[in-house]
């Protein structure tokens, strides 16, 4: 079985601060990990993914994420945050041999105040 946990339903911070959204996963083998973002009224958009190799991966819109096998985490980071980053962020896992299905976390709603 595989699962993804995003423990923070809502994060609020001020523009210019550093943001870090938490994601932990449970999977018995090597995971493929993704972050997606959903702006109000829009579809989910791909941000970045970790497959293998460098544990820090960079994506679109200035985001990066760090894969830490030791504590099964894949946290999303950006510095500085901008008010336009306000959106809902989803972490997802694809297990190898899982026929490419994604297992999602519940999402974190990020509010960046100007």
């Amino acid at each position: 079985a595989q699962s993804v946990d995003q423990p923070d339903a809502h994060v609020t911070l001020s523009e210019g601060a550093s943001l870090e959204l938490r994601c932990s996963y449970s999977y018995s083998a090597a995971p493929y990990l993704f972050w997606y973002v959903q702006y109000p009224g829009q579809s989910l958009q791909f941000l970045l993914k970790y497959i293998t190799g460098d544990t820090v991966v960079k994506g679109t819109k200035g985001f990066e994420a760090e894969f830490r096998k030791s504590n099964s985490s894949f946290n999303l980071k950006k510095s500085p945050a901008h008010w336009s980053d306000s959106a809902k962020y989803f972490c997802a896992l694809e297990g190898g041999g899982s026929n490419y299905k994604l297992t999602f976390g519940k999402g974190t709603l990020l509010t960046v105040t100007p």
């Binding site: 579809s43 791909f46 993914k49 694809e94 026929n99 490419y100 299905k101 994604l102 999602f104």
Partner: protein, 114 residues
């Protein structure tokens, strides 16, 4: 960027009726997916589809559900008959490749079963 379209955006039907949800995937994509999101819960995988066949379906993909993509047109999810618990937002996604590929998501169809 490439877009996935879903028609309709909102559908209200009476329990027991049939409903077809339509997805227009990215034109050169080969893999297709349906996910279900009940209000307040996380998005969950329903089924994926490649080369005219279902690859994998979850336990949420009941016998009343079916998918097809006749002649490369819309990728459809049909529910017949519908039940109250089918009320949810259904997201379609497509990807060019299978493993660890970015999935492109549509905006969702909100299905309300009365």
């Amino acid at each position: 960027g490439p877009k996935v379209l879903q028609i309709p955006s909102h559908q209200i039907i009476d329990m027991g009726q049939m409903v077809t949800l339509n997805c227009d995937p990215v034109s050169n994509h080969l893999y297709f997916y349906w996910y279900k999101q009940i209000l307040g819960q996380q998005m969950e995988f329903l089924v994926n589809f490649y080369n005219g066949k279902v690859m994998e379906k979850s336990k949420l993909f009941k016998d009343q559900f079916s998918v097809e993509r006749p002649d490369g047109s819309y990728f459809t999810l049909k529910i017949q008959p519908t039940a109250l618990e089918d009320s949810a937002v259904y997201f379609c996604a497509s990807s060019l490749m299978g493993g660890y590929a970015e999935q492109f998501f549509g905006p969702g169809t909100r299905l309300t079963v009365l």
